[in-house]
């Protein structure tokens, strides 16, 4: 029989997380710091709004772009929370931020186009670029530089074939954020080399000790930036699969074409839930988001202090809900550490290599986990380190 799988799919590496998922399934009593989603449930009023929409029989497709009312509210949300002005005609409601990433890469990346990706970063960018026949190119980010994208590293990575750069700040897996000053430096480079910027700002609400700064707010960036956002992290709505994009008109039109063919529209139920999340947020100044952030912030401080105290050097994350300690002190790399820790201490963490070569000596630990479980996990890690440091 013929081999039906195409070359590009065949060449796609399996997710670095998958192996651990299978290993953990064979063990009991595992405490997981490997989870990339909030441990909060979607606020009740949001769930209730979705139920009401079902009761009203709102079960049909929506416009491809999504409900107009939702897009209008997304624009108000972006303006009020992140000082980004937007028009509902250039917003697409997507099946999670993941679809947004897929849409923009499909719309803009052709065979041989280079896309620069800060390393480490979220797992899905490079595979999608590769599926397009594009060339994902890692740009080294280091703990010494706070895991941000520096203009020097960026300049060094740019070639004549470079078309786009992906920004993912606050960053998964490092928790790094980029300040206005740091962004200004790379913005100059983006403009100088006429690059498209794909800014995945899914963790924008989870920034600690300062407000998130969007690259879209910089002069001259509107026409070259596609913003990706969503409801999963800030509103604890991962399972609803609802996100959005904001793109310059031409790119937006191309993305919409693809969205029409592959998704038609985001699930209507989830759109109503998202609408309610924003409506409630406007009426109470996003209290439920603030409450979750306060809780994450406390866990973050606690976790980072504990890691540093026990000899795992941990850069201070200022966003998202991950700590990214170095495990060099154990003599192991992140993969060996994650596997040994899982078997010996029953704590699940994700090896940093899953997010790029620069993460090799790190592990990603999520603090979207209750404080009791965090405490237990830390006590197990401490016991594990006694044997390995």
């Amino acid at each position: 029989m013929r081999r039906f799988i195409c070359e590009r799919a065949e060449a796609l590496p399996a997710s670095g997380i998958r192996k651990y998922f299978d290993l953990a399934a064979t063990l009991d009593d595992v405490i997981s710091l490997g989870v990339g989603e909030p441990d909060f449930t979607t606020p009740w009023d949001v769930r209730s709004a979705a139920i009401r929409s079902l009761q009203k029989g709102q079960t049909s497709y929506t416009a491809n772009r999504g409900l107009k009312e939702l897009r209008e509210r997304i624009c108000r949300y972006l303006a009020e929370r992140f000082e980004v002005s937007a028009s509902p005609e250039h917003v697409i409601v997507t099946v999670g931020a993941s679809e947004g990433i897929d849409l923009v890469l499909r719309a803009c990346v052709g065979v041989g186009d280079e896309v620069l990706i800060p390393d480490p970063s979220y797992v899905s960018y490079a595979p999608i670029v590769a599926l397009q026949g594009g060339v994902p190119k890692a740009v080294k980010c280091t703990a010494e530089n706070g895991f941000i994208l520096t203009s020097e590293a960026l300049e060094e990575a740019i070639s004549a074939r470079t078309k786009a750069v992906i920004l993912c700040y606050p960053n998964n897996p490092t928790g790094a954020v980029m300040t206005r000053e740091e962004l200004q430096k790379v913005v100059t480079v983006f403009k100088k080399h006429d690059l498209l910027v794909i800014s995945d700002e899914i963790y924008a609400e989870l920034t600690y000790g300062g407000k998130h700064v969007s690259v879209l707010g910089f002069e001259g960036m509107r026409e070259r930036t596609v913003l990706i956002g969503g409801f999963s992290k800030a509103f604890a709505m991962t399972g609803w699969r609802v996100g959005f994009t904001l793109a310059p008109p031409e790119i937006d039109a191309a993305m919409l074409k693809i969205h029409q063919y592959v998704a038609l529209c985001a699930p209507r139920l989830s759109q109503h839930a998202a609408l309610s999340a924003l409506q409630n947020g406007f009426s109470d100044d996003f209290k439920s988001v603030e409450a979750m952030r306060t809780e994450y912030d406390r866990r973050r401080r606690y976790l980072v202090k504990e890691f540093n105290d026990m000899g795992l050097t941990c850069f201070e994350p200022r966003g998202a809900f991950y700590a990214f300690p170095s495990v060099r002190a154990t003599g192991m790399d992140g993969d060996a550490f994650a596997e040994s820790l899982l078997f010996e201490a029953r704590v699940a963490v994700v090896p940093g290599s899953a997010f790029g070569a620069c993460g090799r000596y790190h592990v990603r630990c999520s603090y979207a986990t209750g404080t009791d479980e965090l405490t237990q996990a830390l006590s197990r890690i401490r016991g594990f380190l006694k044997k390995h440091i």
Partner: protein, 162 residues
């Protein structure tokens, strides 16, 4: 109240076993300052007491808990406070609140037996001159106590996700 004290209370209300060291780490505060703030709040009565929240269904010994609505005539001079102090003095009374609405006090009473509760009502509460009426409700099952649900935990998340 200072911001630090408010934050400490917020954490302790979630779990009063957290040591000062952990709270200090969570708030990036000085451990000594946290210890002092807790002591200060214990002394001035902001923190009344620390106790465990117990799921009665799991208890070996069975007791009876009742919620009693009490309607009273406020007393000249002391208003509701005088009578409240009288009621609160009894060891059976677990909680006592002054309410708005159709009655004045909610009294939560705990006793080893049904008879104990009835005796408390007939021989204690009802004997106060200012008491106009009482209505007693026995607590049958607790689904949520102090913000914690007693039933099955929610669905488990995947151990790993990107």
């Amino acid at each position: 109240m200072q911001q630090l004290e408010r934050e400490i209370l917020d954490i302790l209300k979630g779990d009063c076993r957290y040591p000062a060291e952990k709270i200090a780490a969570m708030l990036s505060a000085d451990e000594k300052e946290v210890t002092e703030a807790i002591r200060r709040m214990e002394r001035n009565g902001t923190i009344v007491k620390y106790s465990a929240i117990v799921n009665a269904d799991d208890e070996a010994e069975e007791g009876v808990e009742a919620l009693i609505e009490v309607k009273v005539t406020p007393q000249t001079g002391s208003g509701f406070d005088g009578i409240a102090e009288e009621i609160a003095r009894h060891s059976e009374v677990k909680s006592l609140y002054l309410m708005s609405g159709a009655y004045d006090f909610t009294v939560i009473v705990e006793s080893p037996s049904l008879r104990g509760v009835s005796r408390f009502i007939s021989e204690c509460i009802s004997t106060f001159e200012c008491v106009i009426s009482t209505a007693t409700h026995f607590i049958l099952k607790k689904y949520k106590i102090e913000g914690a649900t007693t039933g099955a935990k929610g669905e488990k998340r995947l151990p790993y996700s990107s």
